[in-house]
């Protein structure tokens, strides 16, 4: 009963989503949004008419004016700087707008252009000092803050009366200040347009990536060839321009040049930026964060004002929020990856029946023997991690190595070897196509093709993204083994979509169906996912009927068949169930049966742990990886099975001296060649009663 509840809970409750959602960048925006909702709810409860249309429109105008400045600030902060002079620039550009309009009597479009250019010039001063002359952003903008403010004070002494005396009456100016389109304030429309562009700019365009890259690591960006100085300078120019846009709308709305305009604005904007989740250190931030931060700050200021809080209280609250947000931001940045790694691993329930007997004297097809003791060794100490081995028509032996090479051994004694091709990732499963191209699954990279002359080409490294997957699973993480059908379809397994290749033990700890089988069509070059939710799918072999593939599910301890063609197209059927070990590669045998490598054996302690997910979860958190309970892959065997899934015989190395681990085997001219991903050798075993002329790819594709 208890077991049944556990089983159902782990089958239907997607534990693994929590970690996947948390590792998304947008969850960092979710927290400020949550704060915004709370603040909004609080104010709507405590202030009458807070949610009325007029009140909202008024809030929106203010929000957008500050929002422009916040966008500029966001940009500067993301690039790794800070702009304290926004308040003074705001005042100066406000003055510029009103002066050109009221005193000089320029037309409205020209006024707008002049204001923006003025802002850009003011920003350019910061930009040149900080970007090109490499001054500190903080001190530079603090100085310009004072200079601009003084300039503003001098100017309004001279012109404030002129400005105050004028009553401009232009419909277009009023539209800028108070107009609406379909009930939406004009300023909001422009803000939305700028925000959308800003989002696309930061996330999709090259200059935007440069900005983020510089903020993340200035030196790396420089080394990668990014024009660091120019980009930084332009960010300050943009900040000035955006401030000017905000000031323009402000000027049109209120039309005043009071002495306190823009005083303390930098604190408001900075609070909004940090509160939105834009990290002060640079490199992280988005438009959405800036918007959310602005809204929160504005709601709080307006709320406090409406609630008759004094000006000093207002400032103290803002400063308090800034401090809190900065602390949270720093702590989160520091611990984010640790938190995610703690919740990302999510073991699930997997119950396997009692395994068949393997003991000597126990009978049955899995009874241990010492047949593989007489194996001879190829490349001992010279090849490392040959996961798969394959032989071509000319008896050459190929194997991958962990250095990212495909090694070729030459017959007849396989003493001489050379690097056939260098790929760079760990080569796993291999198969020849009709034209003797070697297709190789590369862990972490995808499916590659090596021409007979050694030329390496990428076949595919992505597939269609799943609809219901939180993680982006379009890239291939761990392409594992493959086989090619007569019509040129390459079926290959991807063992897990949640972990990288070196993290396979974590996938074993989870024991969830994280893997899939993918089909790459050599005729069209298209890739699509065929089967999902498989427990570490591994070996793949096209069955003799030419209409189905056999595939091994390593953690499922089973071999299954999938029909890609024929009357049963699309169906999946279990061929072998409840193996005593973890199946790996499958290949053809000369007598029409199949070879199956069993990479490791099941241990009762792990079988039990697989039924207790919470035990494994705690183990993952508390016990270091080197001490985790692992699938025992120090002992393996090779078995032969027939089309119906009956085990015919098994080959063991009892002492595990020569071949502690077997991940693959390939029959060729009366010999069985053995590979193992943790081995430094390839085994060669003389088969009795085997066809001495059997060459797998001559049988598949015919003689040439």
């Amino acid at each position: 009963m208890r077991e049944a509840i556990i089983r159902l809970r782990y089958r239907y409750w997607p534990d693994h989503w929590l970690g996947e959602i948390l590792s998304k960048r947008w969850t960092e925006t979710a927290i400020p949004v949550f704060v915004l909702l709370i603040v909004g709810f609080w104010l709507s409860q405590s202030i009458h008419n807070f949610l009325s249309l007029a009140s909202l429109a008024d809030t929106a105008r203010q929000a957008c004016e500050i929002g422009f400045i916040s966008l500029g600030m966001a940009l500067v902060v993301i690039v790794g700087g800070i702009d304290l002079s926004v308040g003074s620039m705001f005042a100066l550009t406000d003055f510029c707008a009103l002066f050109t309009l009221d005193v000089l009597g320029w037309p409205v479009p020209l006024v707008a252009a002049a204001t923006v250019v003025c802002g850009m010039l003011l920003g350019a001063v910061n930009g040149i000092l900080i970007g090109y002359l490499r001054l500190r952003a903080f001190i530079t903008t603090l100085i310009t803050l004072i200079i601009y403010r003084s300039a503003f004070d001098l100017l309004i002494q001279r012109y404030s009366n002129d400005i105050a005396a004028a009553f401009p009456d232009f419909p277009s100016w009023d539209f800028v200040g108070n107009g609406t389109v379909l009930g939406v304030p004009s300023v909001a429309i422009l803000y939305i347009a700028v925000a959308i562009f800003g989002h696309i700019f930061l996330t999709r365009l090259r200059p935007g990536w440069h900005v983020t890259a510089i903020g993340g690591s200035r030196r790396s960006a420089y080394n990668s060839g990014v024009a660091v100085r120019r980009t930084i300078a332009l960010c300050y120019v943009a900040s000035g321009a955006l401030t000017a846009v905000g000031a323009l709308f402000f000027a049109a709305r209120l039309g005043t040049v009071g002495g306190d305009i823009g005083v303390g604005l930098e604190i408001t904007v900075l609070t909004a930026t940090v509160l939105g989740g834009i990290t002060l250190g640079g490199g992280r931030g988005s438009v959405a964060k800036s918007l959310v931060g602005t809204l929160i700050v504005l709601l709080i200021i307006n709320g406090l004002t409406t609630l008759n809080a004094r000006g000093g209280v207002n400032r103290i609250v803002l400063a308090g929020i800034l401090l809190t947000a900065a602390i949270v931001d720093i702590r989160w940045l520091k611990n984010r990856s640790r938190i995610i790694s703690k919740v990302y691993v999510s073991p699930t329930y997997l119950a396997l029946p009692e395994p068949p007997a393997t003991e000597i004297g126990g009978g049955g097809p899995f009874e241990q023997n010492d047949k593989l003791r007489s194996v001879s060794l190829i490349g001992l100490g010279r090849i490392e991690a040959p996961e798969d081995v394959i032989l071509d028509r000319h008896d050459n032996l190929y194997a991958g190595s962990r250095h990212g090479d495909i090694i070729r051994f030459f017959p007849p004694d396989y003493e001489r070897m050379e690097v056939f091709a260098h790929i760079g990732g760990q080569p796993l499963g291999m198969a020849f196509d009709r034209k003797d191209n070697l297709y190789v699954c590369i862990g972490g990279m995808g499916l590659y093709r090596i021409a007979p002359d050694g030329k390496v080409e990428k076949a595919t490294d992505e597939t269609n993204r799943s609809l219901y997957s939180v993680n982006d699973d379009s890239r291939l993480r761990l392409a594992d083994d493959l086989d090619i059908t007569d019509s040129g379809l390459v079926f290959f397994s991807e063992a897990t979509v949640r972990y990288e290749m070196d993290e396979w033990p974590i996938d074993g700890l989870e024991a969830r169906g994280n893997g899939r089988i993918i089909c790459y069509d050599t005729n069209t070059g298209k890739t699509h996912t065929v089967l999902r939710g498989l427990k570490f799918p591994n070996g793949i072999c096209v069955a003799s009927d030419g209409q189905s593939i056999l595939f091994a599910e390593t953690w499922g301890c089973s071999v299954k068949r999938y029909w890609f063609d024929g009357p049963k197209k699309g169906a999946v059927e279990t061929v072998i169930d409840n193996l005593p070990g973890y199946p790996d590669n499958i290949n053809l045998a000369s007598d029409g049966n199949y070879w199956l490598a069993v990479v490791g054996m099941r241990s009762p302690a792990l079988d039990l742990a697989w039924k207790m997910p919470s035990f494994r979860l705690r183990m993952a958190k508390r016990v270091p990886g080197d001490e985790w309970l692992f699938p025992n892959i120090n002992t393996g065997c090779v078995v032969k099975f027939n089309e119906a899934g009956k085990i015919l015989e098994s080959y063991w190395d009892l002492k595990g001296v020569n071949h502690p681990m077997i991940t693959s085997m390939r029959e060729h001219r009366g010999y069985l060649y053995l590979g193992g991903i943790a081995n430094n050798r390839i085994g060669r075993y003389k088969l009795e009663r085997a066809n001495p002329n059997f060459v797998q790819y001559e049988k598949r594709w015919g003689k040439q």
Binding site: S603, N632, N680
Partner: protein, 365 residues
């Protein structure tokens, strides 16, 4: 109340008793492969304990008591039950514990009839004997619930029913020196007090005649077992198994532990063993993965071989190891005789011998 709260907080935060950290082999315990180069004197079925009276070395192998002669052994006598502890007493007498339940004293190893027989006192797993001052014998009774051979059950049940006993040879009286020990395995006289190995708490304690006990060596990375005096003061301390974080973790996982004990053959439990690597059904841990044909010696030990030389203040001076990639594991007894250190590696069933001279210089810190 406070204790309960503290236990809960520790369990929640993973601190105090709830930590699964294991001290590293460091300082005087720095690993070496000294035991791997020891000479294998004998290969036997079930060697249990060695004892020496200065003239000869006796050892218990299953039900038989033998004496080492040259490079072989002569069987002196057979018992009807397995010997679980052996000690030589002053004056040529020997003490044997049979099946953990009975202790017999013979005036000499070949004597037909026992001089004294101790029975009862609910002795269940007497696993070590040592002569004490004034015609008495110290004995450790590992567990009240499990036989000597079933120590792994006691560990997994977090047994705390071990006792230290004092057997009076003149009166035949058994008195309990200490009880509620977390598996007592190994005793030696230290002046008037008894030095006792409390295995599951990874420490040595000294127990005074009035029962007052005091920890003298704590936080060992291993489970200490039998002790014997060393020439020049101090002791040889054996450690029959070593701690791993996985076992410490399982010891705190009650649900898993109970199901494991109920459903799985003890050979394949997550528990330290005297030898390992015999079957692929044994639990494998991450670092056990054989890479490029090599087993890492630093992998968490399912079985381990260790003898620690303690000085007169019970501080480790140096240690002799057989690491994970070795075979001489499960050292349950080590005694010094004639310049040699004789040891029993119960894992492979061997009696080992190593010259003592030079060990301190080579491995001392």
């Amino acid at each position: 109340m406070f204790g309960v709260l503290r236990e809960f907080a520790q369990g929640f935060l993973g601190r105090g008793d709830a930590t699964i950290t294991v001290p590293s082999f460091d300082g005087a315990l720095k690993p070496n492969q000294a035991l791997e180069r020891a000479e294998t004197l004998l290969q036997c079925e079930a060697p249990e304990e060695l004892a020496s009276n200065g003239a000869g070395v006796y050892f218990a192998d299953g039900t038989s008591l033998s004496r080492i002669e040259g490079n072989g052994a002569i069987t002196i006598r057979e018992f009807d039950r397995p010997i679980t502890a052996l000690a030589c007493l002053p004056g040529g007498a020997v003490a044997v514990a049979l099946d953990g339940r009975e202790v017999r004293i013979y005036a000499n190893p070949a004597a037909a009839k026992p001089r004294v027989t101790f029975e009862g006192a609910s002795m269940r797993s007497v696993n070590a004997l040592a002569s004490a001052r004034s015609d008495a014998l110290y004995a450790t009774d590992g567990s009240a619930t499990h036989d000597v051979a079933e120590w792994a059950f006691d560990l997994m049940e977090r047994g705390r029913s071990g006792r230290a006993l004092r057997l009076d040879l003149n009166t035949g009286k058994i008195s309990v020196l200490a009880q509620g020990l977390h598996y007592a395995f190994g005793a030696c006289a230290m002046g008037d007090t008894a030095l006792i190995s409390e295995s599951w708490r990874h420490r040595l304690i000294s127990v005074a005649p009035n029962g007052a006990s005091k920890a003298v060596l704590t936080n060992l990375p291993v489970y200490p077992s039998r002790l014997s005096p060393a020439s020049g003061g101090g002791w040889w301390l054996t450690a029959f198994i070593a701690r791993t974080q996985l076992v410490e973790f399982v010891l705190r996982e009650t649900a898993y532990r109970k199901r494991m004990m109920a459903e799985i053959d003890p050979e394949y439990w997550i528990v330290p063993r005297l030898s390992s690597g015999k079957s692929f059904k044994e639990p494998m841990q991450g670092a056990h993965l054989k890479t490029m044909g090599v087993v890492k010696p630093w992998a968490p030990p399912r079985s381990y071989g260790l003898v620690i030389r303690l000085d007169a203040a019970c501080k480790p001076m140096f240690s002799l190891h057989s690491r994970v990639d070795g075979t001489n594991h499960g050292i349950v007894s080590a005694i010094e005789s004639g310049g040699w250190l004789y040891m029993i590696a119960k894992g492979p069933g061997r009696v080992l011998r190593l010259p003592i001279e030079g060990l301190a210089k080579e491995f001392g810190v």
